[in-house]
Symmetry: C2
Subunit: 463 residues, 2 copies
Amino acid sequence: MKKTQDFIQNNQQRFLDELFELLRIPSVSADPAHNGDVRKGAELVAQHLTEAGADKVEVCDTAGHPIVYGEKIIDPSLPTVLVYGHYDVQPADPIELWDSPAFEPVIKKTDIHPDGAIFARGACDDKGQVFMHIKAFEAMSKSGELPCNVKFMIEGEEEVGSENLGVFIKEHTERLAADIILVSDTGIISNDNPSITTGLRGLSYVEVEVTGPNRDLHSGLYGGAVANPINVLSDMISQLQDDKHKITIPGFYDKVEVISEEERAEMAKAPYDEEEYKSSIDIKNVQGEEGYSTRERASIRPTLDVNGIWGGYIGEGAKTVLPSKAFAKISMRLVPHQEPEEITAQFKDYFESIAPDSVTVKVNPHHGGLPAVTPIDSDGYMAASNAMEKTFGKKPVPLRSGGSIPIVALFEQVLGLKTVLMGFGLNSDAIHSPNEHYGLFNFYKGIETIPYFFEEFTKLSQK
Amino acid sequence: MKKTQDFIQNNQQRFLDELFELLRIPSVSADPAHNGDVRKGAELVAQHLTEAGADKVEVCDTAGHPIVYGEKIIDPSLPTVLVYGHYDVQPADPIELWDSPAFEPVIKKTDIHPDGAIFARGACDDKGQVFMHIKAFEAMSKSGELPCNVKFMIEGEEEVGSENLGVFIKEHTERLAADIILVSDTGIISNDNPSITTGLRGLSYVEVEVTGPNRDLHSGLYGGAVANPINVLSDMISQLQDDKHKITIPGFYDKVEVISEEERAEMAKAPYDEEEYKSSIDIKNVQGEEGYSTRERASIRPTLDVNGIWGGYIGEGAKTVLPSKAFAKISMRLVPHQEPEEITAQFKDYFESIAPDSVTVKVNPHHGGLPAVTPIDSDGYMAASNAMEKTFGKKPVPLRSGGSIPIVALFEQVLGLKTVLMGFGLNSDAIHSPNEHYGLFNFYKGIETIPYFFEEFTKLSQK
């Protein structure tokens, strides 16, 4: 891969400039106002795939946002790597908390990134990481060192549940035939401590609506006599967890994967400093399910979070209103063996059951996703491990992540393919938050590592 | 009052047109963006007072919104009635729930108002009722039948706590010298059942802020391990009341006025139909403090309501965020002997005490107000009772209201004056809500009744 690595070294600035162009497109999949931008994002990704040397590049329409496909088949007898990623991003709000505009990428130095980091929505999740693959592929193909076949499937709905990707892969199992799926949408422990994600949590996401009176009322004339939907919703949310921070939904824990003490002890060995963790987000104390460590709570245990709440008067000043309605967005992270549809149904039954008869409640399911665990003895995992060891000079450790990439489980069900989660982000990258960023070190380290994965995987799978 | 009543009959349409002009001004005192409109409202009120025959009319500047003053002294030896009201209004939102624009008044018929009602923000609270006084005064003075002296004090900050009115009356005790204060900012049981408000609740209004991590976090990477400010705020709100709907703030009930069984039995006699009450706001069941009736909960008992709540992602679609902050506006209605400042302090201490160490909380007091009760044996009350009996053909019943007009207690403290609450609205008028309206019947009945109050009060106070 000598020529490939030289090519990468000689084109670093151009790679960065091209990524900036992609980051300037506000491809927010959750907001219909940005539908046009999402398509622009797809078209630019397609253009880069073509320029990088991919064939049959296509912006595939779906019932929602388009999926970008491209491939390079050099020899059908060689193994094929299917690269998956997404070009859509989370909404930027609260925008007032961004130090620089979310869609005007800039390089800034930080303590963790002394060489500088790219600040922009999607810099890490996932445009920056998708772009590493496109550029690594360009380097290999332009240098004539591409060791095997490659296919790209870059979607635009990962942040809203990947529903149409599910349809797409079911309809294109032939076209997507491969030996392994390679994804960079996760992270490493730190730039000195490489790791590979071996587990992802599933997701159940619902929106709830509590309705009291048929109109907003004067809180002086009706307060105390008519149930207040905000007070009721608060009560109901509070009843979703007990004082040990266990989720109270009947049946919620029934199928939760039990992790052996040995495995927990093994996980506990990964480098971690709780004081550092707390100070990095400026909290006095952590809080979570009794009997589990902070990292266990955020990886091997299911959780419940209110992602948004609103109701009544939220403008300036004071309004003495008893509102008609209150709303909340609530999501649950699931662990292996928990079924999103089943959990959503359990939530709905329980939430409706604890509603007082002074209000009516509606539970509207958003998207869900299955949890996934990836084996650490597969050719794919070994290839990633060897590749990272080459570029980091250190063997990566396997690690369970708390995040969700619902589609991973579906890949296995529909395409019968294992997925390797070789991501290069850091928890401190503030993905989904204001000032999301991605280290230049990580961006270039990714581009450098990916070709070695191709090389290693081709070797191993031909043994 | 024959000439006066004729004058009113002959000018009904003009009175209505003039009120519409005032209703078109969005004098929302809570929103700084409307400061200019609030002043416009003050100037129009002043203009009408002058045209009605008032002297020394002045738009008095304050640290906040102006106060309109005007007077007519026909004979210093005669009694003086001080008319108080407010020309500011509540914010119109949620505007999407208005069937016609909040500041474009229209007449529409309703089941309760077969002759039609005026639909507009402020139609009842309080522009419509203030206007009744200006027009009744015009009728009396133009007909040469004004029986005593009158002073007007119409403020622009009633909906935000009347802070500067408090300063104003302290600085103008001479100028405001009178024998009684007459206010129409309350209601009657129904158009067939006149009533006079003899009690008002006080108010303590706070805004709370719960802060967890220093930035929004990815709920997958941090959820379950870091306290979620929305979940925590919900827990804390839920802890403010117990399962009997009693407020749990230590000391909250200590000074609450105890009402005798006899008095409660007396109050229970006022006409009331709970089924009608429930269906009017479309709720399956009422809910409130154990041991008290619906009307007691909304009048003689203190209450706590969340008037607004917000935090996290409240846009369309799904965002898996663990927010940095969550907020709520919370108000408590107080009954006689409860001190707003003391209650606010008790709330602050308690709210801070129940916060887990995984978050920090801030409690910011908004405005407060003292409760008030008015005697039913005074000349003022008798004058109002006789006047209403004349125009309704039925003796009004005394009634405690759940609302607050904080300034009433201050009038007594600073000016040593009792207040008569002779209002003409209905609970169904949707004040503070979308589609606020005021019956034409009520508007004209008020104009018709007020002159009789002046006549009766002059007679009684000269005995």
